[in-house]
């Protein structure tokens, strides 16, 4: 997965929706870097349903505790259970090994509410200068 294939939310989560309408969700490199060393990730369980921009879990780093929000709504099909024992994968590989959940996307048009990589980069720059 390369960052330019993904769509981003203002809460710094990304999603990649495949041809079967399954969205792979994680957090951006920027989010991982600003959190610092991640020490804990709490994710939903398979079968849960999540709303677009609704809470999907929690993440804790040596610095801070934050909530995770799903960039798309739908049923959780799979959870990256390795993160329970190796939360540092979120720092090492936020777009590959550090993925968080797979979601059966309910409404494909929700993707239109998200940002492209270029838009997201502008958004990050803008929020940092504020």
């Amino acid at each position: 997965m390369t960052p330019d294939q993904l769509k981003y939310s203002s809460e710094h989560e990304w999603v990649f929706v495949d041809e079967n309408g399954v969205g792979l969700v994680g957090i951006s490199q920027h989010a991982a870097d600003s959190l610092g060393d991640v020490v804990f990730v709490d994710l939903p369980v398979v079968g849960d349903s999540v709303d677009q921009f609704g809470k999907m879990g929690e993440i804790e780093s040596v610095k801070a505790f934050s909530e995770l929000f799903s960039p798309v709504g739908g049923e959780v099909l799979e959870v990256n259970s390795i993160l329970a024992d190796a939360p540092d994968l979120v720092n090492e590989s936020p777009y590959e090994k550090g993925w968080m959940i797979k979601v059966k996307v309910n409404d494909a048009t929700e993707i239109e509410n998200l940002m492209t990589l270029a838009e997201y980069e502008d958004y990050v720059l803008e929020s940092e200068s504020n």
Binding site: G36, D37, V39, F40, D42, E60, V62, K63, P87
Partner: protein, 499 residues
């Protein structure tokens, strides 16, 4: 050198009490039954899921003494935990607080029978009001955050009284204590973060842009969590007050200002003081603390209840409990954590005015000594004279050697020193926040400096040593995040033979 027997003993020493149980062993001898025997109530009411350990008195005393020795406290060694002011607490404080007239009284006793205790409360109120240059003090908030909430509820009551219920926004600099935003939100406000300028002061342009008729006030920690005195503070308080806002001061770092700066003179409307930090009462084990709220003229009528007042009638002095006219109500039961107040009273009285002033002198000198001696080994994000604490950054060690602030902190444990506060304030990367406090000797500071320099050298020569630290504790790296979320506080049979 280790041996099979040593390893075995080491394992046995870590057994929990239940695993030390031997069937039939007892720790107490009951006297003969000298009353008529009767049937127990239905056995359905008796739990059998919680077996008791069968151990002798000697075994149980050793067990608890041994585990108490795993603990680290200010009575063990140096404890430079930034922002927490882990200074030595004189034992005289405890002696006075445990006098029967203080420790054996009940809060529901008639005031006439506890005049001495009420006098202590009144005097502490007066001392804090004088030391901070404010107008009145309520001692009942139970800890710092409770004092913050009290102050913000007072600010809200003040605005509502004036018919200004649109004042909803509280500004909080990014160098403030983490509890400040939570207190403001709990009091019904919304929070806007103010950036610091590149010298660590409040950014005045950002402040000017943020004040308006929605401004409820500002919460500022002085000195800030960067250990810096905000050089713009007079402008900050003026801008906020001119815009109709209340200025809240987080007094958690008050030991840097004692006898030198009065918060009231700087334009603060309300502050809190952590007695368990500045006024030397034990803390670090979860309390009890005390976070008195101290108000200036604009907010003094809104103080929580109850206060103690002194009345003189025909030469007879009496101390009475009273409630301020527009009080926000109670923040804690009775007179708060009275034992903490008695300790703070003892501390203030035994030091006197000159002694109080020497606290801030020594706290600031000690921190600056460490700053000067260690700035070659660790990054200093702000090249300035600091106050009572100094914030270093381990970012160069992280970039050059792969050694993080956490690794440095863990290695300090091997040298017998409590780690400093880490990763806070959030605006400093790989922060290590060192507060030596005023009670440490030059020798202790020099030892700490040697240790920190050695760790910095180890980071370059043998980073693995730091990654794997601590080496000499019963447990090494713990999964602290998981321990906090899923605490395992109860013994359970290891092989599921019950439940």
């Amino acid at each position: 050198m280790t041996s099979p027997l040593l390893s075995q003993l080491q394992q046995e020493s870590r057994k929990l009490l239940m695993d030390r149980s031997v069937e039939g062993r007892v720790g107490a001898t009951l006297p003969d039954l000298d009353v008529p025997e009767c049937e127990l109530p239905s056995t359905d009411l008796i739990r059998d899921d919680l077996p008791l350990p069968e151990v002798s008195e000697g075994e149980i005393v050793r067990y608890f003494t041994q585990i108490s020795q795993y603990n680290f406290s200010i009575d063990n060694n140096f404890y430079p935990l930034g922002s927490c002011t882990m200074k030595y607490n004189p034992k005289l404080n405890d002696l006075i607080a445990s006098m029967p007239g203080f420790s054996n009284i009940h809060p529901l006793q008639n005031d006439a029978t506890v005049q001495g205790a009420l006098q202590v409360v009144w005097e502490v109120q007066e001392y804090l009001t004088e030391i901070t240059g404010m107008a009145g003090t309520c001692l009942t908030p139970m800890a710092g955050a409770d004092g913050e909430l009290a102050g913000m509820l007072m600010a809200r009551a003040y605005h509502l009284d004036r018919g200004e219920d649109q004042r909803k926004v509280v500004l909080i600099p990014d160098s403030a204590h983490g509890t400040n935003p939570a207190s403001a939100v709990m009091a019904g406000f919304t929070v806007k973060t103010l950036p610091s300028d590149n010298e660590g002061n409040t950014d005045l342009d950002a402040l000017r842009e943020s004040v308006g008729e929605n401004l409820a006030g500002l919460m500022i920690t002085l000195p800030s969590t960067l250990g810096l005195f905000d050089r713009n503070i007079l402008d900050v308080t003026r801008i906020v007050r001119d815009a109709g806002g209340i200025v809240y001061g987080d007094g958690a770092n008050l030991n840097a200002l004692l006898g030198r700066v009065k918060m009231g003179d700087l334009g603060f409307d309300v502050i809190h003081s952590n007695l368990h930090k500045t006024f030397s009462t034990p803390h670090g084990g979860g309390g009890p603390g005390a976070g008195p709220v101290i108000a200036g003229p604009r907010l003094v009528d809104y103080l929580p209840s109850s206060l103690v007042c002194r009345e003189e009638d025909g030469g007879e002095v009496r101390f009475k409990q009273s409630t301020p006219e527009k009080s926000i109500g109670r923040m804690g039961a009775f007179q708060g954590n009275f034992g903490v107040l008695a300790r703070a009273f003892t501390y203030i009285r035994s030091l006197g005015g000159e002694g109080i002033r020497s606290i801030s002198d020594d706290a600031v000198i000690n921190a600056n000594y460490i700053l000067e001696k260690l700035k070659g080994s660790f990054d200093l994000p702000y090249e300035r004279v600091c106050m009572h604490e100094v914030v270093f950054s381990a970012r160069n060690l992280k970039n050059n050697c792969g050694v993080s602030a956490l690794d440095v902190a863990k290695r300090l444990i091997d040298y017998g020193v409590h780690p400093p506060t880490m990763y806070f304030p959030l605006i400093v990367e790989e922060a290590l926040m060192v507060e030596p406090t005023e009670t440490e000797s030059l020798e202790t500071l020099n030892t700490f400096i040697d240790i920190m320099r050695t760790i910095s050298e180890e980071a370059h020569s043998n980073p693995e040593l730091l990654h794997e630290a601590p080496h000499f504790t019963p447990n090494s790296r713990l999964d602290e995040a998981r321990a906090a979320r899923y605490p395992d506080l109860r013994w359970r049979p290891s092989h599921g033979d019950s439940e």
